[in-house]
Symmetry: C2
């Protein structure tokens, strides 16, 4: 029996990871899954498909209480993790006839030819608990602590490499075992808050000192283009106190407390209100509509997107007066407003968002430098609202910042429409 | 002096990595940058911002020839890498007045308030070569092997955590130093090929056995939605042989041999031909136009994108006959063709791509199940071409597959127009 917080270590095997050809997804997944149990990964090692696996296992056995090993369970010759674990723990590998029959059926159904390597996936570590793989052919293993009495060892979980195999296996089979290993109630909780419309330093100014005054709380920030994620970790009562501070200080700037994308929040607000949206994008080039249509069911609220990159498209599709473009330039408050109005009228939607700006790296002028962007929101009930920003960054980040800003503008508008008293800390519109 | 291949190790510091809040990007970047020099990362350790950094440094000093350490150089109290390196090597930290003045100016320009932690970023490891940070405030360091004669140590590179700071610093300052450390010509080369329109198993069938017959070649595949990356590593003459096989067998299915995005290839082909493009997207929801407008200079060739999610938008903007939609359904060959034609006419472009399909998870029928998609290509010179696919996957991957398929359709068309003899292995149109 292990009491939280214990010392857990993760070993990722895979030469492809060290060559930079594949990005590891296991650390982030496992870390988030085990934190509610009071468990943390305290170190992660990435090692090649070689002898280094065994050396690393032997080295780490005395240094941790729980060890996760991922990858190298497949059928090809460089998949050697099963053998390395067996050798380092002095355990036999036994071909399991039931597993072998299951593998044969599996391949038959899929019309895949049998090869000698495939049979190795039916090799089971003596004394291990098999973790069934419901999304692939290689099962995982759980080996209890000191499984070979002659070799002191931690609890070892051996897991397959592909994330779509590992993740469901972990949730269904590893988590219950971990719960049985760990005694007592979980001593830490984790919460996160997604924040838009406020920069990282302002978020820190608003909550940092107050939250950190709570004993035993850990506070972290992660800034992504156009949003800040705040995470807190601590005992349940510390979390409750921090949660109250964060919600009081950041109010409507928090758009999700469960990792939802900003576009999903907007789509759901529109659905609730039975309202619709159109977009007119110049500099964001379709990113806003792409984010919106990533949300399942977006078709209920999203009528049309107009990516009017050229001036003639702005006039033709959105009915923007070409003289207006000539007079003020395509990147201007006036054109942004006309684009939003044109899109709303054309689509017959409740709202329309428009963007026009200079993403760069070229196309800037002294008056309108690279990074300048106008974001407009047209609605059925209010005057069309335009905001100007300057984002000094690379092209793709610029597009993300502009898209997030536009979506957040609409989100705040929708919240205000739903409850005029819900907002205090302001923000447009 | 070190001869390739040497033993290089990477240490990523950062509690946020171990909590799963941030994904490491350094391993993949550094691994790809150093491979042309004949260098590989042979092990990677991810450690928290704690004493573990020092323990890991001391442990690894005798075990490698080159050590990269990332992260923990910032101004906050959990940034302790500089101190840990100093302690483990017995080196003093000296505040550099020039660096301090530079930091002060930097903050002033940005209107950021001075805080005591910031000054720590002007602390320099005694004897180290400072690697200037042109994209942030914390400089990096290079420490030559055995910098403190009393403590045997490898060449150590200490680098900042944010990728947009580390990456340019690495290319500009670390690579030249690495070149001076490593003697002799590089003994391995790496090449990669991006392939569209052919699945992973067909790629493997086409080249696998032949390439692996070359002694000393390493061959790897990495499948992403709508594309396969083939990589080869080996001695220059082995690479030349493998390269010839891959190009002969895969021909025009290779869209890039230097990691370019498919959209960038299409934009550049259009630029070369002085031609233009419009898009009409239903199920891809703006993803195609978003990918195209991610390419700098896309405005030269991309005129307009119409994201016609609703049927009325298809009729209104693209002039698709509403009776046609009623008769065949919005997801049909006929409507896909009409959308492409309508977009090309409306925008006045040389080409137009259209997509209509059922991304799911809902909206399918027995006749047209979830995953069905029609992709159409209209052009000035040929009859409009429509292809039908079925992609059984999640919503976002479906969109990516449909977008890649559409872009590849256009790419092959453009290649054919440029040289009717360049294609043998077929593929549409």
């Amino acid at each position: 029996m292990v009491t939280p917080i214990v010392r857990a270590i993760l070993i990722n095997t895979g030469t492809e990871l060290l060559l930079g050809d594949v990005q590891d997804a296991h650390l982030a997944f496992i870390a988030r899954e085990i934190l509610p149990l009071g468990l943390r990964i305290e170190e992660r090692r990435t090692v090649p498909d070689s002898e280094v696996i065994r050396r690393t296992l032997v080295e780490l056995f005395p240094h941790c209480e729980i060890l996760f090993v991922t990858g190298g369970l497949g059928p090809t010759s460089d998949d050697i993790t099963r053998e390395m674990v067996a050798e380092s723990l002095g355990l036999d590998l036994r071909r399991d006839p039931e597993l072998l029959a299951w593998l044969e059926r599996r391949l038959q159904v899929r019309g895949i030819k049998w090869s000698s390597g495939i049979a190795r996936q039916a090799d089971v570590l003596a004394g291990a608990e098999v973790l069934p793989n419901e999304n692939g052919s290689a099962p995982g293993f759980y080996l209890k602590a000191n499984i070979n009495p002659r070799i002191p060892s931690p609890h070892v979980f051996v897991l397959p490499g592909p994330p779509r195999e590992l993740q469901p296996m972990f949730k269904k089979f590893a988590i219950p075992i971990l719960k049985s290993i760990i005694t007592g109630p979980p001593q830490v909780e984790r919460r996160s808050y997604s924040i838009a419309g406020v920069g990282e330093s302002l978020v820190e100014n608003a909550i940092g000192r107050k939250v950190l005054a709570i004993p035993g709380i850990e506070l972290g920030y992660c800034a992504r283009p156009g949003e800040v994620e705040v995470r807190i970790i601590g005992a349940p009562n510390a979390i409750a106190g921090a949660d109250a501070i964060i919600r009081r200080e950041l109010r409507v700037s928090i758009f999700s407390d469960h990792g939802e994308a900003l576009a999903a929040v907007v789509v759901n607000l529109l659905k609730q209100r039975n309202e619709t949206l159109a977009t007119a994008e110049s500099c964001t080039g379709g990113l806003i509509s792409n984010q919106i249509t990533n949300v399942p069911g977006a078709s209920e609220v999203f009528l049309a997107g107009y990516v009017t990159y050229s001036n003639s498209a702005k006039s033709d599709v959105l009915n923007v007066d070409s003289e207006l473009i000539e007079k003020h330039g395509a990147v201007s408050e006036e054109v942004a407003r006309a684009m939003a109005d044109g899109a709303r009228t054309r689509a017959g939607s409740t709202y329309a968002l428009a963007t026009t700006g200079i993403a760069g790296p070229t196309g800037g002028s002294e008056e309108k430098p690279v990074g300048t962007v106008y974001v407009a929101l047209a609605s059925k009930t209010s005057k069309t609202f335009v905001m100007k920003f300057r984002f000094l960054t690379d092209r793709e980040t610029f597009k993300q910042l502009a898209a997030q800003t536009a979506l957040d503008l609409l989100r705040r508008k929708l919240l205000k429409e739903s409850d005029v008293h819900s907002e205090r800390s302001g923000g447009a519109p």
